[in-house]
Symmetry: C2
Subunit: 251 residues, 2 copies
Amino acid sequence: MKTVPRDKTAPAEPDTVDCPRCDFFGILRVLDAVRDDSRVNCILKRRQPLAKGETLFRAGQPFHAACAVTGGSLMSYGLLDGGEEQILGFHFPGELFGLDGIKTGRYAYTTRALEPSLVCELHFEDLDQLGNHYPAFQTQLIELMSRQILHVQRQNLLAARQYSEERLAAFLLNVAGRFAVRGFPATEFRLPMSRQHISNYLGLAVETVSRLFQQFQEQALLVVSAKRLRLLNVAKLEDIARMRIRAINRR
Amino acid sequence: MKTVPRDKTAPAEPDTVDCPRCDFFGILRVLDAVRDDSRVNCILKRRQPLAKGETLFRAGQPFHAACAVTGGSLMSYGLLDGGEEQILGFHFPGELFGLDGIKTGRYAYTTRALEPSLVCELHFEDLDQLGNHYPAFQTQLIELMSRQILHVQRQNLLAARQYSEERLAAFLLNVAGRFAVRGFPATEFRLPMSRQHISNYLGLAVETVSRLFQQFQEQALLVVSAKRLRLLNVAKLEDIARMRIRAINRR
DNA sequence: CGATGGTTTGACCACGCTCAATCAACGTGG
DNA sequence: CCACGTTGATTGAGCGTGGTCAAACCATCG
């Protein structure tokens, strides 16, 4: 299997999302409308670049900003005290994270870049201040958090599935759907995380994930080579993802 | 094992939570402060009684209110189209649910009472209206949603664990912790859901859950009889919950 | 009181984990 | 530029956890 040599002249710039596709867009528009107000200066810092593997913030650190991915991808994980780290979720362009820190004043989880990435930060020092003068801002924030709860709850469905096939299929479809929503190709994309990450996230062994990719490929459901992935039969994958009744002879 | 005959004169009134312990309390105080304002009339409907098994709302129905449990308990589940229903979470006194509907305008999941229950409803028709006049209200709502995101994310950790022991132990501790926060006894309580529900929620077979209860009991970690549960060795349960490295000889 | 549905228990076996070796992809230094 | 080490992905063999099926058991309720 030949790999196309990477064009060295083009730097590995991560996929980026346009502002209108970002979860922060509603907030951004409100901020733009009041840009002349000195109080709202710099509340939304844009395009902070992160190196691969770089930690954005750690669990327990004082909360200072909610973030949105504008390019690349990140993951959040909590370490069960004394135990291994458990990955809680991945963050793709346009998506938010860190909103859980608002109430407690501390980040609940550690977040790290999976590849060179860009994030926008929404700073919260003057939130009350701002909210008192611009209710529209708070309204935006509420809608955004509502969507976030939905997003997180949807993730719950992934690892709760009983069989490894279901979990991986559901995971891939979840990722594909999230790319699709932001206008990226939904059937052909790069999985920025390692198999280790996937297996940890889904509560499986690495080898199982590897074998499942192999199996799906043999069934012509997808084509996978390293991190590049192409979905060939989404309908069948959906079947697998929701298959709860394990038939006696299912092959 | 004798069961104490239930006092027939006292109706099976579910455990209830005091208002100060409820997640809505912050909002309630704001509303109390502006009670004289005609606009905010009836925005918080209290103590709606539900029969066991009664459905509060269904997935897809238009969203009209976020809810808090004030007594009893409920569960939310989504049905994977064409597949079985997957339980997403349980709701205990003082806890919120339904906030995910704010943005989409529809309930994302179906919610049903596990026993005779009471809920408060926070109606959202006039939210914008109210928010424009009382930013404090929106501020409360934002904090509350932040806590909710944290809560839901914590649940993600349950089913992502690799082994059934870890999952059940983590689940029981999660439930115990949630009771403790609201001032209920944390080591002796009733599990309002069936084994079926637990197994579905954790992605296990019913029989496995049953056997694990048995096993934990033999190890003197807890005492279980039907739905009543008493935790004897929380420290050891925590050990199990975070045990990732499966030792060769672990007994 | 019997009917019904949930729970437990047992026997069996397959899915998926463990361990270990191999292979591929990079990055580094000679 | 290639040898080498390192890291991640894959593949294989073996076995244990946990799922399936079935029956017995028990609780709740009409």
